[in-house]
Amino acid sequence: MADVILRTEGLKRYFGGLHAVDGVDFSLGQGEIRAIIGPNGAGKTTFVSLLAGRTPVTDGRIIFRGEDITRLPAFRRVRRGIAYTFQITNIYPKLTVAENIRMAVLGHTQRGDKVDFERETLAALDAVELAHRADIRAGELAYGHQRLVEVAMGLALSPTLLILDEPTQGLSDSEIANFCKLVKRISATATILLIEHNMDVVMQLAHSITVLNRGRTLAEGTPAEIGANAEVQAAYLGTGQ
């Protein structure tokens, strides 16, 4: 097993009486592509929001590359190499595509790295094949392309850990195929944590899968193991309740 890049211990997030994340012990290996799946309301988005620092932790710890980041504000985690793409497309609609990416490159420079601005911007645009649309306002792009802008922004941060929250939602089949190729390419340089509903995508990409249900880890294993797991089937199909 590769080195552990991210670990959580007893991670909890309560919203009043709702235990959205309820004691998750989680561990992610360097270079891995991990999918998180689970029924609606399982706590997937809350869980990755805790990792990214967008939601404060109720209890437990998060350790990233050996450092306790549980109480770090989100922007400091980004500077340590955690990039997060939102479930609902979240870009700068009034700026051009290139300007969107440039903001992300500017974000990357906050980490103290020396960066060739135009080269990095072009590289991220090329990766999502949007270079020919660089000067269009991002808000005017089709939805699928807006999602790609978002992914490109994540890329331009050159993260060590890229968290993708339902990246293929709203994409067409051909866009999804391209997206899977892209994720494989990104995984050469970054660890990827992916929330995904589309099981084809999960089976194609993930090295391993974590299943969340009602804020807890229900199962963890390779795609084949998860596919054969009776408890997972019960949670998804609602049998055994």
Partner: protein, 320 residues
Amino acid sequence: MTPAIARRNFILLVVVLVALFLLQFVVPDYYVLTITRIMTLAVFAIGYNMLLGYIGLMSLGHAMFFAAGLYGAGLLTYHFGIAVPLAFLGGLITALLLALVIGFLSLRTQRVSFMIVTLMFSQVGFLMTLYFADATGGQDGLKLPHAARSFQLVGLTFDLTNEIVRFNLAFGLLLVALAISFFILVSRRGRIFAAIRENEGRTEMLGFNVFAAKLEAFLYSGAIAGAGGAAYGLLDGYVGSTFASIQYSIEVLLFTLLGGAGTLLGPLIGVALMTTMIDRLSEVTTAYLLVVGVVLIVIVLWFPKGILGTIRERWLPWLM
């Protein structure tokens, strides 16, 4: 922002400033006074615009920074006989420190809460100017002493009873405020401010310290508004609690919206139009505040980008 666009805006800025400077040689004395007042209030509006226009935070209490500068400077000359340039600096520092405290507290809130919190703090400031009437002169205010009507700097004597001297001092301050605005807009800082205005959550998730950037903008905004207040009090030779009242918080919002929030020259244009209109109206009716209210509603409903904002959108996309 490409260098070519920045250069074009810089040239426009220089042309406007030169034209403004030359006005003192061509217009009658009465208008020299009016333009002096417009330029001083424009500094206030430029400070306000830095918060509303550049980073997207609407304060309803900016009279407190204007008044902090006004009283900070005015009380120093009145009670302690401090020379005018130092008193000006004192007013500026008072406003800056106030902005630090108020910014630190109020920036924990967002949107409507932020508007309410800044409004409340501003009301506290207004009531304090009345409560400590022994020091501030309360409602009647204070007429600054004769000694504060002139000062010496770098071997020159400035006579503040002379309207041309006052005009040029106000012009100098306006020039500095616009230069600061320009450099912020073309800088990397300005891009981060604009990114926060467009999408705060996204900007934080690109690794930017949003709170620190907002506080920084708040400090620029409060300090420049305070400099406007200090200059207003010192040039006019009078400080009074009206300047701390909500009327001034609303008017500065109106100036900025009318001229175009987020534009470089919008605040100046907004102040020029609005004060001219108020002056004319107050000659014919005492209910001119009613008209101010109607103008505010019309702008918000049908004209949200203001004059320069609309011109930029329709015809001149390079306009800063």
